[in-house]
Amino acid sequence: MTLRIVVVGGGAAGIGAAGSAHQVDPEASVTVYTEFEDVGYSPCGIPYVHGKEIPKFENLFLQDKAFYERMGLDIRYETRVSKFDLAANKVTVEGEGDVPFDRLVVATGFYYGDPGVAGTELEGLYYVKNIRQAMEWDKVFDNAKKVVVVEATPLGLEMVTAMAHRGLETHLVDPHPWALAEVSDPDIMKPVMDSWSEMGVISHYNTKVEAFLGDGKVRAVKTSEGELEADVVVICTNKQPNNRLAREAGLNIGSTGGIVVNERMQTSNPNVYAAGDCCELPHGISKVPIQGLSGSHAYAQGKVAGTNAAGGSRAYQPVYVPWGMVAGKWMIGGVSFGETLANALGIPFVMGVAQGISRARYYPDMKPVRVKLLADPGSHKIIGAQLVGGEGIKERCDFLAMAAKTGITLEDLATMENVYSPPIGALNEPIALAAQNGLSNVKKS
């Protein structure tokens, strides 16, 4: 009998799940429901089209609809699922009625947190998510002069940088003392914030949004520090798991609001899997569940969920969360904990910081690279890192995530071998310098 697999959600997790399910069992019927017009594109690229680094939105499409048809996936576009009936193994689809399944993959993604102030119904408030809407908003930006970006989250950093690149008068309003304060440390973010000032961005930290003002269309943002005129407001609040259907169906939800899953991405119902921003995963070091990771996490989780839903066997692992991005004129990144987050959680740590360089000192376009390592004070194993620099940040974050995952110590990193070639690497690797400083701090403590 043909296995019926229903995937709800057409983002990275949903498409990853559908593709791997089809690969494991080519005879299975795999149906994907998405409320949007498209799948198979990179929403993460949208800020860079707005910022004019990427010339057009069409470049963000990885595959066209015909590709998925040829693959044998049945994708129902602009089709909303309104209910999961897990007792009867069926979902209710608007316009189609009840659709039975043998396995369900929930990949319903996220929504932006409600700013919780008056005026959210006004026109001119932009939530960056859907590529078709982004195309329309891009035309709005053509005629805009003043943009306010609300909250310096990862997307907020990208949109501030994009708006400044585009030459718009850009204001950032953030309730924290520095940008990306829930993830990153102030010493890491300082070069970014300074570069925004050089680019003309006007940042308002320690400032809360109190209301969006306007008559039908937004004209200003009322903040705790006064009013800011705005033609467009870009809302970049934290991502919240989109779990209404899962919650109503009785699936177990964790303390983050994400769906509880095991290493097979299986939920509390054995026929139901979940992947991506709608579920929560244990952190590799603290074991505390976390939610709202990157597109690469979502895609990998989707592949695990799809494989297992189709009868295969694949396990996901706790996450160490390497991250990185371009913000202002800098690249920033990290792994697991920064100093702010470790201090908040109360995890004991020792720290080593070093300022190195990305290439030989004499080679053109050499860039600074600042590395901050956090290690367990007893074992000296790496538990986190934060980096800022001109290049080579992503690769170092990927490496340090593996270092944290495999239990590498400050001693290991302090004596690591490194590539030395003037155009691509300096004599002294900044990670090794930071680890050496960390060991000095261990001796002092």
Binding site: P175, H176, P177, W178, A181, E182, D185, P186, D187, K190, N206, K208, S224, N252, I253, G254, S255, T256, G258, V260, V261, N262, E263, R264, C279, E280, P282, H283, G284, I285, S286, K287, V288, P289, A315, Y316, Q317, P318, E339, T340, L341, N343, A344, L345, G346, I347, P348, F349, A375, D376, P377, G378, S379, K381, I382, I383, A404, K405, T406, G407
Partner: protein, 85 residues
């Protein structure tokens, strides 16, 4: 909002807020303003955060891990982690 989600949301928010104040003093040399004086804010700022910070890490960790969530499911594939003491 279910109880454990309420605890997680607020404890995370106010512990981060306290840590951000520490970091702002250390790196920026400023004292961020405190805003909001709801009963919830008063409870978490004046009771929860100071008490949490006095509890030894191994007890805090045990409490964190006792919360419901994905971490209490089967994760046999995990590699040996760097455990904080």
């Amino acid at each position: 909002m279910p109880f454990f989600e309420w605890v997680r949301k607020n404890s995370e928010h106010y512990l981060l807020e306290a840590s951000q104040r520490d970091m702002a003093r250390k790196y920026l040399g400023v004292e961020p303003p405190v805003s909001g004086a709801s009963l919830e804010a008063i409870f978490f700022r004046r009771l929860f955060v100071p008490i949490y910070r006095r509890i030894p890490w191994f007890i805090r960790r045990a409490i964190l891990l006792a919360m419901p969530g994905s971490h209490r499911q089967e994760w046999a594939g995990r590699s040996p982690p760097a455990k904080p003491n």
